[in-house]
Amino acid sequence: MRRWGVTQYARTEGILAEPIGDLWAVFCPTSGETSLLNNESMAVLEVLEAGPAGTAAICGALAEDSGESIEALEGLIEACWAQLIEMGLVRELRVPRTMLG
């Protein structure tokens, strides 16, 4: 969380995802690249399908679905962002606090 606002993440539009064995093949239409993702990263993308969200909100949603604790999920999710951004699958949004309602 930054002093002037919070960081949220938005899923790139038009992503195609298919389960391939124990991984997910994900095609990014903006980069044209295909990546293989594990279940944790794919779960994050699925939550983001509903709209941009920050780590806390995503952890909340996933904790509810998986029964894992929010604390346990936070580390996993934080570790996903750099890779998902590099793959072009999500982008970072800096949202001023005043816009968060």
Binding site: A25, F27, P29
Partner: protein, 320 residues
Amino acid sequence: MSSAPRSHQTLGDTDTLAFAKVLADAGFGIDVGAVSVHVRSDSKLFARQLQSVYAHFPLMDRAQWADVHLTINRASGFRRLIRPQVILQCDGRQPFEPFPANAPLPLFEWGCNWMIGQRLNDLLLLHAGAVERDGLALLLPAMPGSGKSTLTAALSLRGWRLLSDEFGAFNPDSGTFRALLKPVALKNQSIEVIRTFAPNAVFGPEFPNTRKGTVAHLAAEPDAVERRHESARPGAVVLPKWQAGSPTRWEPLTENVLFGALAFNAFNYSVLGATGFRSVVRLVRQCPGWQLVYSDLDDALATIDAAWPQVRERQLAAGQ
């Protein structure tokens, strides 16, 4: 895209001098299945080399469409006297360094494959050997040095129909593989392996000291030439790996290894975008896959033959 030509005269039937003149004047068209190639050349040696490995291909009518146009001419000036060379050009470009004048055929084959990889974006071009049996394609994707060409060549000499040594050409619209039937380029020890395996196999000349070592081209069987416009439905994928002294190992591939072997080893996967992605997903869903580690070619073929009825039954059931 080419359609079936109607010509009865084959390249092998044609007098070499007459063919060399045609090649130098109007040029010559070769229909290899999914694509046709037009080539012109002032090299009489090239005419003879083409005849050695494309003997069963019909002579195409001059008026027929060609997808790829190439010229291979002898270098001019003093280079005709000192270490003479041949130069390949396509669309006014010279994508490769000149080759020695006695090696126009490997230059043609590499140039042709390069152009097909650049041009044929209505098909997903997997980097794989491809053969057919029972209307089903067996794909052999692999990295260089894996024994892909050796295994593809051996299969094509034991009752499997060669579709291509280099391209698994998948049509996303029809969901079938097409032939890109060119000679199998064998390198180094593979040449002797296949000569021993099939003493009657027809080879072009050997070219020592190329970038890939010694290269020789194995001509496609007449039946494969005759049937080069027949498509094949996806059958199975085998990832070959030649390993000196290894017993034959045959292990199922996980879907994600199969996906990677097809998508990340294709010529134009990224160019095709979502179509490429959907095609590979479809192939992974449809085709069983195995890793084949081998050193004994006969044993490797017997292993594939033994697994094939299972593939045929599965694909038959899926098609009903």
